[in-house]
Amino acid sequence: MLDMTSAPPALAAEGVTHRYGGVLALDGVSVQIGTGQFVSVLGSNGAGKSTLAMVLAGLLAPSSGTVRAGGHAVASRGHGGPIAGVSLVPEGRRLFGQLSVRENLLLGGFGAGASGRETRRRLDEVLASLPKALRDDPGRAAATLSGGEQQMLAIGRAIMAQPRTLIIDEPSMGLAPVLINQVYEWLSRLHADGVTILLMEQMATHAVRHSDMMVILDRGRVVYAGSPQGDAASAALISGYIGEEAL
């Protein structure tokens, strides 16, 4: 376990509120993602998970409140890219369907400012962690991949940036259980390698099993933050109508 008292959290939201026009998506959310932790944010559809993911990645300026990365307040940046050292695997993967597997990966490195040589080195490394179908034919257009392959490629593209923190939004969406296992195995390996993981999920089962900490969002508010195990956690999951199958 890392000493959480001395190191500033990898990411923190302080009183973050966000409105889309009249819709209140986040309502005074404060969370801390400790360096090296695996944190799950659970909530049903519309709870505000994706909005929180975008805000914590630095891709969406909240209506009010502060985001801190490594203890420093994040200012809105010029071209609006992610916070340095943070990568987001967005909801729905958002791969470039007309680009090849290889090109999708390459852009993960290029977007993070890696040199051409460094990008090619990482590309070999990341390709090696991908399912065989992708490794064998990296020239295939991403649109032709299966859902599981696309999710793995989306994670691969994000880690091409060599992030210290990986935010991943509903990776299990639309995947068969065996593929969900593959995705979580990879996240565990990344976590073991020292990457801070922030996971947004509707399905509690896997998330609870892998997390150090669990946050439950309900209609934009944090209704639980703490251990993913125990009676309090179970009660919070039930009242949030999340993942009864976990219990």
């Binding site: 990645a57 891709l59 071209h79 609006g80 890219g81 992610p82 987001l88 967005p90 993967r93 958002r94 791969l95 470039f96 369907g97 007309q98 680009l99 090109e103 999708n104 390459l106 852009l107 993960g108 290029f110 977007g111 993070a112 400012g113 051409g116 990008t119 991403a142 649109a143 696309q150 593209r157 940036a161």
Partner: protein
């Protein structure tokens, strides 16, 4: 038979200018969702700048590259100052279109005020004529064709292999996802406008040497370039190039066998028929695929 071959050869030579303009239109459209009607006038403006430079003693070859640079910079400025502030959204497509039409008209008026409306002779990059398959073709046209092919090869290589070119394709497909990776979509837009308008400058430089230079010289070639773009599909770069060359040939054949007076009518009749059969053009896709 010899007739048709010579018509095709000179048609291809004419078509290289349309192909360059068409490619420029597609590059800008794909990366910033803007149909740039000022692209031809931007090329004309850059050619006027080259003419002034030549008059001041700059060698023609240097003036050629100067024209590319001037058009590119004007393109970047137009995108930054007029298009980008509009933001994103469906109806803005139309607003941007009207803005570029207006910009083109303002440029034509400005060029007329500054350089005058009377046609000015413009020197070819390479003077002289040669015989190709029994047809006399100006070396200027040959040079235009060669430069068009080189430029197209460069564009294919840039978009196929260079990270920046790949990033431009990605940004065209999903700008938000591109931004999420940290790709600088603003810089991508600038490079697209530089490239697109630079290609237009090459086209107008050669066209000016074919006839002469005046502020309204882009009108008819732009018309044909758009025809080529629609023929090839608004989203396809190879389609635009092939479409541009096809229009050059079609235009030549129609002018020879039917009537030079009805060239435009005939060219557009054929395009309407093609679009009736294939609304997305030969190589384009109507909607960008979403996965």
């Amino acid at each position: 038979m010899g007739d048709i071959i010579s018509l095709i050869i000179s048609g291809i030579a004419n078509g290289s200018a349309y192909a360059l303009l068409a490619l420029g239109i597609v590059i800008i459209f794909r990366s910033t969702d803007t149909v740039n009607f000022a692209i031809g006038d931007t090329g004309t403006l850059a050619t006027f700048a080259a003419l002034s430079a030549i008059a001041a003693g700059v060698p023609i070859a240097a003036a050629f590259f100067l024209a590319i640079a001037v058009a590119g910079v004007v393109g970047i400025a137009a995108e930054r100052l007029l298009i980008r502030p509009l933001g994103h959204g469906q109806h803005l497509l139309f607003v941007a279109l009207v803005i570029t039409i207006g910009l083109g008209l303002v440029m034509q008026a400005g060029m007329g005020a500054f350089w005058g409306n009377t046609p000015k002779p413009f020197p070819p990059l390479v003077p002289g004529w040669i015989q190709v398959a029994g047809v006399a073709i100006s070396l200027n046209k040959i040079a235009a064709t060669v430069f068009a092919l080189i430029a197209m090869g460069f564009v294919a290589w840039f978009f196929g292999y260079m990270p920046f070119g790949i990033a431009m394709r990605a940004s065209a497909e999903d700008p938000l996802a591109a931004r999420m990776l940290g790709l600088n979509t603003g810089r991508i837009a600038s490079i697209a406008w530089f490239l697109g308008c630079g290609l237009a400058a090459i086209a107008m430089f050669f066209l000016a040497a074919e006839s002469s230079l005046n502020p309204h010289i882009a009108h008819s070639p732009l018309f044909r370039a758009f025809a080529g773009v629609f023929l090839g599909g608004l989203t396809s770069m190879p389609g635009a190039v092939i479409g541009g060359f096809a229009i050059g040939v079609l235009d030549n054949i129609a002018g020879h066998y039917i009537s030079a007076n009805y060239r435009d009518t005939i060219v557009f009749t054929v395009i309407v028929v093609v679009l009736f059969v294939r609304p997305a053009g030969f190589l384009g896709s109507i909607r960008k695929e979403r996965v």
